[in-house]
């Protein structure tokens, strides 16, 4: 296919604004699949791919329309994967920006629109769901045009559900989006915009060839990481996998690498040929670092090996997931895991519980801190209990939060952000009713319950997105929780100095309620270094006897005590104190719930 007959595009939309329906309709219209096959082939791809012995989800589908080759590139759907989204967008020349005619622009629409603009994409604005009774296509079109600096007349109005206007969308892609501009004869270069892992074929890279041509069996190299391998198979999805023997400048497809480690081939890296190597990689590669950390412990310590295996397997498909063994005296053996963000953490946790049937205890998440001890080197700390007691300086990650709300909730959002050490950045009216707010906030302030709070204080109307903007110094202290004089590692927290007292006291009070009374007084303290900032006492039991025990009920009483003993064995031992796991759970949950 000549390069000027190729168009590469993606669809960007807020969740539920109709991205996948539109994609399905495009496949149907271009006869990539028949209407009857829709269900069988597209929606049920997993089964189909399983038949082929390969379990890779198509990240890019090739279709033909009026003599043009269109490549639809999928983008990851949520905020934690901004970098991955930006790489997917970099593989395109254009993007369909889809907005729900009833809901209008949302935070994710904005975030992705800005990303597309940054990547110099031609944006084709689309208002979807015009068939809905509550749709207001004109208002949505006006808002959308305003956002991207276009005219409302230029905004397409469609219903992906009924198919109305979808042909115009395809025509607009051909008419408005530029053809790829690569050099066919230059040394081959391709951008890896996604990757996947198959247990038989190894790592499968999704690429956009920028210059030159790649061929099957050719030795290749990933330029940033230096990984070398042979292209076992090249091809594209249409919508099932089709081997093509080669991929040339402008084209989008897959490379089966045979590599067994997904972290050897990172999104954003540039592939080149070993025989005739490019000298310059494509711009923009970043080594993505986890920003949010949490301890994952099996509720049943016997499940530790299962958890380890499950994390190993997840990691194959998720290069951004980080984990290392962690031992907590309170929670036993587990792993400290690093995530790109909260949603990433939720996804991993859900997959571990659902796909691997594990029962997990997840500690309150914390962020990565950069720490400089007195006379020491700067380093990163991922666990509050690793924070040195004395520090010269601490830095924490900051984000830029982008929030869209109906104007009556602006006050509520500002109040929330002020409580969370937010710094106001910008306020702008998107329309008469809707306001776009940006704030700079410490990431630590949103990792717990920010999103829930935002939703509840705006009755669910707010939409939220964020970007990590770097590390900044903070007045941060480590607060330790001591039970019976022993620090409980899993409960240590890094807090802002101003909220340390209040949060420490809340934790200590909650623990007092949760720790059962023992045979001795148990002091519970919150301390910064050696300074105790809050203290409660679990009073010793005064009485614990079986009222009576005679010949008729010796067996029953014995079993009662044996059960009690077994229960004690399940308790976590902190020094002399027996603490039920539920107590830790309750407290860890609390750290998310502010009063």
């Amino acid at each position: 296919m000549p390069q000027d007959r190729i168009r590469n595009f993606s669809i960007i939309a807020h969740i539920d604004h109709g991205k996948s329906t539109l994609a399905d309709r495009i496949l149907e219209l271009t006869h990539a699949v028949s209407q009857r096959e829709m269900r069988d082939q597209v929606l049920d791809t997993m089964d189909l791919e399983r038949e082929r012995g390969i379990t890779i989800k198509a990240q890019a589908v090739r279709v033909n329309w009026k003599g043009y080759q269109l490549n639809l590139i999928d983008t990851p759907g949520h905020v934690d994967f901004t970098y991955e989204v930006s790489r997917s967008l970099q593989a395109c020349e254009g993007a369909l920006l889809v907005v729900d005619a009833a809901q209008g622009t949302q935070a994710q629409t904005l975030a992705n629109a800005y990303l597309a603009i940054e990547n110099d994409l031609e944006i084709v604005p689309v208002v979807n769901k015009i068939d809905l009774p509550q749709a207001d296509p004109s208002a949505a079109a006006a808002e959308l045009a305003d956002l991207i600096g276009d005219t409302p007349e230029h905004v397409l109005r469609i219903s992906a559900k009924t198919g109305e206007g979808v042909e115009d969308v395809l025509d607009a892609i051909i008419g408005r989006v530029h053809a790829p501009a690569g050099d066919q004869v230059a040394p081959a270069r391709a951008l890896i915009f996604d990757s996947s892992y198959d247990q038989y074929r190894g790592v499968v890279a999704f690429v956009r060839v920028v210059d030159g041509t790649f061929s099957q069996r050719e030795p290749l190299r990933a330029m940033a990481q230096g990984t070398r391998f042979e292209a076992e198979e090249l091809g594209f999805f249409s919508p099932t996998m089709r081997s093509s023997g080669s991929l040339s400048a402008g084209e989008v497809g897959y490379v089966i690498t045979g590599l067994k480690d997904v972290s050897k081939l990172r999104v954003g890296d540039t592939l080149t040929s070993e025989r005739r190597s490019a000298t310059e990689p494509l711009p923009g590669y970043k080594d993505v670092k986890p920003m949010v950390f949490a301890g994952l412990f099996p509720t049943d310590s016997d499940d530790y090996p299962e958890l380890r295996d499950a994390l190993e397997r997840l990691k194959l498909n998720d290069a951004a997931l980080f984990y290392e063994p962690e031992t907590s005296q309170a929670l036993g053996f587990g792993f400290r895991c690093g995530f790109l963000g909260l949603l990433h953490m939720e996804i991993v946790r859900e997959r571990l519980e659902r796909e691997f049937d594990l029962d997990l205890l997840v500690t309150a998440p914390n962020v990565a801190y950069r720490v400089q001890p007195p006379n020491g080197e700067w380093h990163e700390v991922h666990t509050p209990s690793d924070m040195p007691a004395e520090v010269e300086e601490v830095e924490e990650p900051y984000i830029k939060a982008s929030i869209i709300v109906p104007k009556e909730y602006v006050g509520a959002v500002m109040e929330l952000n002020n409580e969370r050490r937010g710094r106001f950045d910008h306020l702008e009216y998107l329309s008469e009713d809707r306001v776009h707010l940006t704030y700079e906030l410490p990431l630590a302030e949103i990792v717990l319950d920010y999103y829930d709070q935002l939703k509840s204080r705006t009755r669910g109307y707010a939409s939220f997105d964020y970007d990590v903007i770097g590390f900044r110094p903070g007045k941060l202290v480590r607060v330790d929780i001591l039970v019976g004089g022993e620090p409980v590692d899993a409960l240590s927290l890094v807090l802002h100095r101003d909220s340390a007292y209040e949060r420490g006291r809340a934790l200590v009070e909650r623990l007092r309620e949760e720790i059962p009374r023992q045979m001795f007084d148990v002091p519970i303290q919150a301390a910064i270094g050696s300074r105790v900032i809050a203290r409660e006492t679990v009073k010793a039991k005064r009485k614990d006897v079986l009222a009576k025990c005679y010949g008729g009920d010796i067996s029953r009483k014995r079993k009662l005590l044996e059960r009690q003993k077994a229960g004690k064995k399940r308790m976590k031992q902190v020094g002399m104190v027996e603490v039920p796991q539920e107590a830790f759970l309750a407290v860890l949950n609390l750290s998310g719930e502010r009063k």
Partner: protein
């Protein structure tokens, strides 16, 4: 094996089933009392060889043994083997001068009187028929008939019981000067009518009543009683070789001795096996009527289990427990921990094995401490 030296006889009949009771009891059924006693005696004959020739203690419990129709009761008592201690449980409202005389004539030398409380409103809550004066009268009838070993049962932790109610109950009990007192904290057992009616209230009072056990122990030991078992107190002998007023029958349980139990729901523990008779009257009478043993559930008691039981039971007493046989039953780490906390005293000696005993505070926490110590 020389046979069990302790016999328990169950008389399940009651005039009324109290809400908090979870024993095997039957209300009324006076026409069946005679038939039941026949069956009891038949079971006793069937199992006679399990008993030693010399029986040390007999305990007739219930139910309300003294509610049993008098002829049937007399026939039963006259057929029981002789023993040094022969106890019958009695409810105050059933104790008449006639009944006291009957017991005396039949060789009963100890009566355990279910007083429970001397406060009318608390007796009502417990659904007891007796009034405070009924309890006192019953006590004096027994004294008048010549009983010099009377035990009173008291219950504390009753819904609505204030600290001064408890004091008043202890005053009233002490005023009678019983040889022996059993003081039980009310147990709201799941599934009983009582728990249904008062469970929530009891849970609310739990903190306020936590001190009652200590109060009971302090008051009774202060009045010269020996706190010889978790819930049991007896008058200390005034002379060095005076009578031992502990319940000898119950001591046998707490020392892990073998015992034979007859009657519905009765439990026996002999030669490493424990069995429980059917709690149902009809199958019990039918089986024994045709010369068969009643339906039973058997539980093997391997040495390890017996050792654990000896630990559990022995730690209820105020005498040191020798660890020889039960050392495997003890969690050594827990023992060291409990010793450090001042809850257990360990006496180690090279000639005999180690002895352990709970300290006074350890005894207040005896259930928890025992659970810790179990290996």
């Amino acid at each position: 094996m020389s046979g069990a030296r302790h016999l328990y006889v169950h008389l399940p009949f009651c005039a009324h089933r109290c809400g908090y009771c979870d024993f095997v009891t039957l209300v009324g059924r006076s026409e069946q009392h005679g038939g039941y006693v026949d069956a009891l005696l038949a079971e006793l004959r069937l199992e006679r060889e399990l008993l030693a020739t010399e029986v040390e203690t007999v305990f007739v419990g219930g139910g309300t043994p003294t509610f049993t129709e008098p002829h049937a009761l007399a026939r039963l008592l006259s057929s029981l083997p002789d023993a040094e201690e022969k106890t019958v449980e009695a409810n105050p409202e059933t104790v008449t001068p006639g009944l006291a005389a009957l017991l005396q004539e039949q060789g009963v030398n100890r009566v355990s009187l279910g007083a429970q409380s001397f406060r009318p409103h608390l007796l009502a809550t417990l659904e007891r028929v007796a009034q405070p004066d009924t309890v006192r009268r019953a006590f004096y009838h027994l004294r008048d008939a010549g009983f010099d070993n009377i035990s009173l049962d008291l219950i504390y932790g009753i819904p609505g019981q204030t600290a001064s109610d408890l004091d008043a109950d202890l005053d009233a009990a002490l005023a009678l000067g019983p040889e022996h007192l059993s003081c039980y904290e009310l147990e709201a057992k799941p599934g009983t009518r009582f728990t249904h009616a008062h469970g929530a209230e009891l849970a609310l009072q739990a903190d306020a009543m936590e001190m009652y056990f200590e109060v009971v122990v302090e008051r009774l030991t202060g009045a010269g009683y020996r706190w010889y078992e978790t819930a049991n107190f007896c008058r200390a002998p005034s002379l060095p070789h005076g009578p031992d007023l502990r319940s000898q029958h119950n001591l046998a349980y707490w020392r892990g001795r073998d015992y034979l139990g007859v009657g519905i729901g009765a439990v026996s523990t002999i030669d490493g096996t424990r069995w429980t008779n059917t709690p149902r009257l009809a199958p019990y009478i039918a089986a024994l009527g045709s010369g068969e043993r009643p339906p039973r559930e058997h539980e093997p008691l391997p040495d390890a289990t017996r050792a654990r039981e000896r630990l559990m039971l022995g730690l209820r007493l105020d005498e040191p427990l020798e660890l020889v046989g039960s050392s495997d039953a003890v969690d050594a780490d827990a023992l060291a921990r409990m010793e450090r906390l001042g809850l257990v005293r360990v006496r180690r000696s090279s000639s005999v094995g180690a002895h352990i005993a709970l300290t006074p505070r350890g005894r207040l926490l005896g259930g928890g401490v025992t659970a810790e110590l179990l290996a």
